[in-house]
């Protein structure tokens, strides 16, 4: 985190976070402006860059506002204090007598600005640090004069809490170049990569005249390294034609390595697994051991057990899901004559990408500079990092010239990592009144992260295709402190006397998986909240009342009630879903209104959300609305398709997403908690919306569908 004031009064903020389409830079600018007492217009958010910005890791996991907000506030408060001190010195008053608002420092009739003071503050700090060219960096200045640095309320809230318009939107509405796709660097070449036709394919040969790295026909250039194959050309149409020729010339050795897409339960449960006890938390020192025991078959139904009340159990699943961003992944790279590499990327983490690129390419990390440039919407670990390596590999063949690489739609839908399929067993013992006495929950899943650097490998797609390939182990899971992966939101929020949660992560997987918006929480909340409705139905209880009876968390109760009230709870055809994201993040309750005739249509979604102190109300609404619509799309339509050899859902027909005519109206209620810390809003809606839709479907037609997506075929299968 670094904040510096330019001589003209512009305040540069290097937050190390990246704009993914979620509006985070606007929200951070609001926080910075208030902490500085500055005008929003003088705050400039500098895109993340390994050359000069801080290493803030990833922009992921709904953590940017919760983690970076307080840190940014503290940095800004220090800068403000240095300027206040200079103003006080100039006017010969105590710093406590100087106020700052709207970028103007004031004492009585005296006023001055950041611009007026900048030179003197810079000079004072240059003297202190003896570093030439030092700016008013955070940390180099005096302590703030008022309030506690980093705490909300230490400064006047002028912009925080206000629906400030998105800073990036005017460019995008005007159609100005803004995306990495729009980069036109001097002398730029266009690159395309010919990806293998299937995950296990290896290149066996190229037809004559198109082998190796010789010039192809004067203007295009083929690059080959093992099974990595690409072309370079002066223009995009030439690059696409060269790619088509290359496709015809390439011969591949392919193998059937993929599971049966119609038996995901069986695939996920077969193992080998790493088994972890999620809850109760294991004793420290216990190490999970891989196990390859018998395969438990999915079970569903209710069986009375003598003396233990009634036992209920059910099995749920979700398929593999694609990120399916509207733009395919894109990057640019240039190798300089001194052997250094520059990369332009829409990555979620410029530093982790730099480290991964450096390892694959055999460079010291400080020889690589990664600059963030916006891409289309990012919902997790997509192809952004992979295409950066593609660009670097192609650019290596033409030193000094920038190379711009854009994936095809098919590559985007078939080669970017998927969100893992999951299979879950839930069982509960209930007492005579239908209350849960014991709850057991078991998950089978692939891991939910293979981000750059996971499992000690670079993890970039093309690295596995090189002549000297990197092995890519099965995806791992983030640690519990980072929100877990398959176990995210696996422990229910309700006051159950006994809860056991176990997870089994697949250790051998032919399908690449990684982080997709909310990771395991989408599935776990869908399963837990579907099962809660099943238990309520078995007990003859209203689903809302049934939940409130075992939920003591007051913020959770308020959110549930608010969503139910706003939706007009009590009508038929409504369904409810609720969770607190990650167990410590945003509370979100969703009510869906569903009609099922020829297909399942969601008419309306009503959500209530509590994200603590709201930085930008419209920004939160936008994230919740968008998350809800995307979750509805996942729930109703989406499923990665494959045969035993190839991923087959490579276009918008085979991987359909929700269209305008299918999109529900979405109403969002913000339950304000200004006194509590801000938490992220980006992923909170995913699980609750899935459960709400499934529960509404059950309410509307009396059919419980436990395997996503809720297509007409799935409904028919559930009826049979």
């Amino acid at each position: 985190m670094s904040v510096s004031v330019e001589p003209d009064g512009v305040i540069l903020v290097r937050a190390g976070k990246v704009e993914l389409g979620q509006g985070v830079l606007t929200a951070l600018a609001q926080i910075a402006a208030d902490a500085l007492g500055a005008d929003l217009a003088q705050v400039r958010m500098v895109p993340a860059n390994t050359g000069e910005g801080p290493d803030e890791g990833l922009t992921a996991g709904s953590m940017s506002i919760a983690r970076s907000g307080p840190a940014l506030r503290e940095s800004c408060a220090r800068v403000r204090a240095a300027f206040v001190a200079e103003a006080a010195r100039r006017w010969d008053v105590s710093p406590a007598e100087v106020t700052v608002r709207g970028g103007e420092f004031r004492h009585g009739a005296e006023t001055t600005t950041y611009a007026d003071l900048a030179k003197a503050v810079l000079a004072a700090e240059a003297q202190e640090t003896t570093e030439p060219g030092a700016t008013a960096e955070a940390g180099a200045a005096a302590e703030p004069t008022t309030g506690q640095a980093g705490e909300p309320g230490a400064e006047a809230a002028v912009f925080v809490g206000v629906s400030v318009p998105r800073l990036d939107l005017p460019d995008k509405v005007a159609g100005r170049p803004r995306f990495v796709h729009d980069l036109r660097l001097p002398g730029q070449l266009y690159g395309r990569v010919l990806r293998p036709p299937s995950p296990a394919a290896r290149l066996t040969g190229l037809a004559p005249n198109e082998d190796g790295s010789t010039h192809e026909n004067g203007s295009t250039h083929v690059v080959r390294d093992g099974s990595f194959l690409g072309v370079l050309a002066e223009t995009e149409p030439e690059a696409d034609r060269a790619l088509a020729r290359l496709r015809r010339a390439a011969a591949w050795d392919e193998h059937d390595t993929l599971p049966d897409e119609h038996d995901l339960h069986g695939y996920l449960r077969k193992g080998p697994h790493e088994t972890i006890r999620v809850h109760p938390a294991p004793q420290t020192g216990a190490t999970p051991a891989p196990q390859t025991g018998a395969t438990p078959a999915p079970q569903t139904g209710a069986t009375p057990e003598a003396g233990a009340g009634t036992a209920h159990r059910a099995t749920y699943s979700r398929p593999f899901l694609a990120h399916a961003s509207i733009a395919p992944s894109c990057a640019a790279a240039r190798w300089n004559s001194d052997g250094s590499l520059e990369v332009w990327s829409h990555t979620q983490g410029v530093y982790p990408l730099r480290a991964a690129l450096a390892r694959v390419l055999g460079l010291a990390a400080d020889r690589v500079e990664v600059r963030h440039v916006e891409g289309a919407g990012c919902y997790g670990h997509n192809g952004a990092d992979d295409v950066a390596l593609d660009a670097a590999l192609l650019a290596r063949a033409v030193p000094g010239r920038p190379v711009h690489v854009r994936w095809s739609r098919r590559d985007e839908l078939t080669w970017a990592p998927f969100g893992s399929a999951m299979s879950v067993d839930v069982a509960a013992e209930v007492d005579a009144a239908g209350r849960v006495a014991a709850w057991t929950y078991e998950i089978w899943s692939q891991g939910h992260t293979s981000r750059p650097g996971y499992a000690g490998v670079p993890g970039l797609l093309a690295a596995a295709h090189l002549e000297q390939p990197w092995e890519h182990p099965a995806a791992a899971d983030p640690a519990p402190a980072a929100g877990s992966g398959m176990a995210r939101n696996a422990v229910p929020i309700y006051d159950f006397p006994r809860v056991e949660v176990t997870g089994h992560r697949l250790l051998e997987t032919p399908i690449r998986s990684s982080a997709l918006r909310s990771l395991g929480a989408f599935m776990n909340v869908f399963a837990i909240e579907s099962f809660m409705d099943e238990l309520a139905l078995a007990a003859g209880r209203d689903p809302l009342a049934y939940r409130l009876d075992c939920l003591s968390d007051p913020r959770g109760r308020a959110v549930l009630r608010r969503a139910a009230d706003a939706a007009g709870w009590g009508r038929p055809g409504l369904g409810l879903g609720f969770a607190r994201y990650k167990g410590n993040g945003a509370y979100c309750a969703a009510v869906a209104e569903v009609e099922a005739e020829h297909d399942v249509r969601v008419r309306r979604l009503t959500l209530a959300v509590d994200v603590g102190r709201v930085v930008n109300p419209d920004g939160v609404r936008n994230q919740i609305e968008g998350g809800a619509i995307q979750a509805a799309s996942w729930t109703l339509k989406e499923r990665v398709r494959f045969d035993r050899r190839r991923i087959t859902s490579g276009d918008w027909e085979s991987y359909p997403i929700l269209r305008f005519s299918e999109t529900p109206e979405v109403a969002v209620e913000l339950v304000e908690h200004p006194g509590t810390p801000s938490v992220g809003a980006g992923e909170a809606a995913q699980g609750p919306v899935a459960a709400a839709i499934a529960n509404a479907l059950a309410s509307a037609i009396g059919v419980r569908v436990r395997d996503l997506p809720l297509t007409p075929e799935a409904v028919l299968k559930a009826i049979e």
């Binding site: 993914l20 389409g21 979620q22 509006g23 629906s163 318009p165 998105r166 990036d168 939107l169 005017p170 995008k172 509405v173 005007a174 159609g175 100005r176 170049p177 803004r178 995306f179 796709h181 729009d182 036109r184 223009t235 995009e236 149409p237 399916a324 961003s325 509207i326 733009a327 395919p328 916006e374 891409g375 289309a376 919407g377 990012c378 919902y379 854009r406 095809s408 739609r409 419209d618 936008n622 994230q623 609305e625 968008g626 998350g627 809800a628 619509i629 995307q630 799309s633 276009d651 918008w652 027909e653 997403i657 929700l658 269209r659 305008f660 005519s661 999109t663 109206e665 979405v666």
Partner: protein, 149 residues
């Protein structure tokens, strides 16, 4: 050499006439506002007006635009002005990543040109070929209705 009119200005371009119109707009003509999404005319990110009709520029060859009038997002309104749809998108904050917006606004502008007072159903129908992944659909519908007011 292919002659066509782009955003009201006659131009001559030298790109291979078989090349997609999208590549000519973004390449030789330097108009980056029209976006590549799928290359198969299935997502709407590359929509332009071709003689007033909404057309996917990604699978339309340059030769098919010869002698005709192309309007891109940059030319929806004259000069530096903003089209009512563009103003309404900002007013409603109807965007997240913004990548699909150019094509959305082209579809919406074509609708309003043909029907200045569309119903909500008309707007939904006019935008149904445009995909959005961030889930901004309802805001965009509201924006188009606002622009029609």
């Amino acid at each position: 050499m292919t002659r066509l009119t782009v955003n009201g200005t006659p131009v001559e371009v030298t790109t291979d006439p078989r090349a997609p119109l999208l590549d000519v707009l973004r390449g030789e003509l330097g108009l980056a506002g029209t976006r590549f999404g799928c290359g198969e005319g299935m997502c709407g990110a590359c929509f332009v007006l071709l003689d007033g009709r909404v057309t996917a520029a990604c699978d339309t060859p340059l030769s098919a635009a010869a002698g005709r009038a192309v309007v891109t997002v940059e030319g929806l309104a004259p000069g530096d002005e903003a089209h009512p749809v563009q103003r309404a998108i900002l007013a409603e904050q109807a965007g997240q990543c913004g990548y699909c917006l150019s094509g959305m606004m082209v579809s919406a502008a074509a609708l309003l040109a043909a029907d200045p007072r569309p119903s909500e159903e008309d707007v939904v129908a006019a935008l149904d070929r445009n995909l959005c992944r961030c889930g901004v659909h309802r805001r965009i519908v509201r924006a188009v209705l606002r622009a029609a007011e």
